[in-house]
């Protein structure tokens, strides 16, 4: 009997199965699958298991009190979720952030991008059955966490990028350590390429799996690595240079494959660019203050602003409305994982069940960030 490829609710061949929220690979997220044998006919995401109401919560707190809880949705990439928030508040207040503060924002944002991408390719390696990559990446990631903790004071949630600049200056003598980490890491990335990305077994497993065309990526609102792996060279650091990104020599990475392999490999290409940026930033960082003194309860004039930055997973945006009171009137977080979620049911159909983890994780979907 032929496999049923179309979803038909009355058919007794179709079985509904849940992937998650207890599945160790799915995170706190449930994917509803309709299967015919091991053939996936239809899928539907069911998020919300860790919805924490960040947007409502921020309406009860003032602009500085909002900083620590806003980075909770994505602790892997915590500086990059605070970056657009800080830009939004700065824009409403008309803050002119000191040059050194701008550079430190860029440094922290790029270190966080590497930390997040390392986690991404580590788990992609795990789902491909490549346990070497996960152990290597998790180990090497710690050197970056170590560097970040020297600047931010914590391992993952730094609350470092704040309105008006950054929380504190970096310690003296860090440049040498950072440049050494950059040199060492570039050599490590060559090894990841050899052992994973150019590995024939991995290529067989990931190439042409879950292909997303560039038209579909744009139409469905995909952002970040997903969009760039589908041949669209759209990177806000280049398109809309904020925080002195136009001072740095780097390239927006993109690939034309649109498959799971391209989505993972574009992350590696981005890490190479991040290393380039970090090296330039440490070499050229100006001296001076790192933040403006805004006080514990800054007065934010009434206004509306839409700020966006390129986080590790893609475009992170904040729609902030102030009515002149000490607290935001409305704060909408547009997180890249929520934007990329629309791609999931598009890719997760007409594939075999063994491809689900590969495609799912190649989207770099982070349930906490999507739920907020």
């Amino acid at each position: 009997m032929a496999i049923q490829t179309e979803y038909d609710p009355d058919s007794d061949r179709i079985m509904a199965v849940s992937f998650g929220p207890q599945h160790p690979g799915a995170g706190h997220f449930r994917l509803r699958l309709w299967l015919d044998g091991d053939y996936l006919v239809k899928s539907e995401p069911d998020p919300g298991y860790i919805h924490r109401g960040e947007e409502k919560m921020s309406e009860y707190r003032n602009y500085i009190q909002n900083v620590p809880h806003l980075e909770r949705p994505v602790i892997l990439d915590s500086s990059n979720i605070l970056f657009p928030y800080a830009l939004a508040v700065d824009e409403l207040m008309g803050n002119k952030v000191p040059e050194r503060g701008q550079y430190l924002r860029v440094i922290m944002s790029e270190i966080n991008r590497i930390i997040s991408h390392m986690y991404f390719i580590a788990i992609e390696g795990l789902f491909t059955g490549h346990t070497t990559l996960i152990t290597w990446c998790m180990g090497d990631r710690d050197f970056w966490i170590d560097l970040a903790s020297r600047i931010g004071g914590a391992r993952v949630t730094f609350a470092y990028i704040i309105p008006g600049g950054v929380r504190n200056d970096m310690p003296e003598g860090l440049t040498e350590k950072a440049l050494k980490t950059c040199d060492w890491f570039e050599k490590r990335m060559d090894e990841y390429e050899k052992i994973f990305f150019k590995n024939p077994v991995v290529l067989t497993r990931m190439e042409k799996v879950g292909v997303l065309s560039s038209q579909d990526a744009i139409r469905l609102g995909a952002v970040g690595t997903v969009l760039r792996a589908s041949g669209v060279k759209s990177d806000l650091r280049k398109d809309e240079p904020y925080s002195h990104y136009d001072d740095f020599d780097f390239e927006a990475s993109s690939l034309n494959g649109g498959d799971s392999w391209s989505r993972a490999y574009v992350a590696l290409l981005e890490m190479r660019q991040s290393v380039k940026i970090i090296r330039q930033a440490f070499k050229n960082i100006p001296t001076g203050p790192v933040r403006l003194k805004l006080g514990p309860q800054p007065r934010v004039p009434a206004g509306e602003v839409y700020a966006r930055t390129e986080a590790a997973r893609g475009e992170m945006s904040f729609h902030l409305i102030s009515d002149g009171s000490p607290r935001p009137y409305r704060l909408k977080i547009g997180s890249p994982s929520f934007k990329n979620m629309r791609v999931l049911p598009h890719l997760l159909k007409n594939v075999h069940i063994a491809d689900i983890p590969i495609i799912y994780w190649s989207l770099n979907y982070w349930p906490l960030e999507a739920d907020r």
Partner: protein, 188 residues
């Protein structure tokens, strides 16, 4: 909320003379300075729809406020004629003092490299007591989940969006939509 009216975008000091699309594939891109391109966009909208208000949140953020029944028409024009093809986010604001709910679609442009640093905020206001709006999933498929969120968080009924269940909230949620201003979080 907007800073200036339709006569022109606010001028922000430009730090370095770097073209916004450096390093991008050059399609047919008008290489004019940003304020001029912003005025271009605004005039193209107002010449087609004279009754529609175009504000600037700032120079690269156009806010187009349309009457609710005409939003689809304007959205089609923004997509097909201006080339804004990439849905970025959909936000909703509860203006409780004015008894209105505002829906804002933030749309960016990806295929037109020259407008990648622009965002068009397409806004409509609907009565708070009867929050019915037409869905724009036919125009930008990517707004589907964003509308689901607005549906449950602000209680907006998007006509044309087939999903009516709970998306982020628990299935047994039976209180009012939590992002409404008169909803008070537990413990507050």
């Amino acid at each position: 909320m907007s800073k200036t009216e339709a006569e022109g975008p606010p001028s922000t000091p430009v730090r370095a003379a770097v073209p916004p699309d450096a390093g991008l594939p050059s399609t047919a891109v008008p290489q004019k300075p940003a304020p001029e391109r912003a005025r271009d966009l605004a005039s193209r909208i107002t010449s087609k729809f004279p009754d529609i208000k175009v504000d600037y949140m700032r120079e690269k953020r156009l806010k187009v406020t349309t009457p609710s029944p005409r939003i689809k028409e304007v959205a089609m024009m923004v997509r097909d004629e201006l080339g804004f093809d990439h849905p970025s986010a959909v936000s909703g604001v509860d203006w409780i003092a004015k008894d209105e709910i505002e829906i804002v679609y933030f749309i960016s442009s990806v295929s037109q490299a020259g407008y990648r640093n622009f965002v068009v905020a397409l806004a409509e206001r609907i009565p708070r007591g009867n929050p019915v709006a037409s869905s724009l999933i036919d125009v930008w498929a990517g707004v589907e989940y964003h509308e689901r969120e607005g549906q449950e968080m602000l209680g907006i009924n998007f006509v044309g969006n087939p999903y009516k269940g709970h998306f982020l909230l628990p299935e047994d949620w039976n209180d009012m939509p939590p992002l409404r201003k008169d909803y008070v979080s537990p413990g507050r």
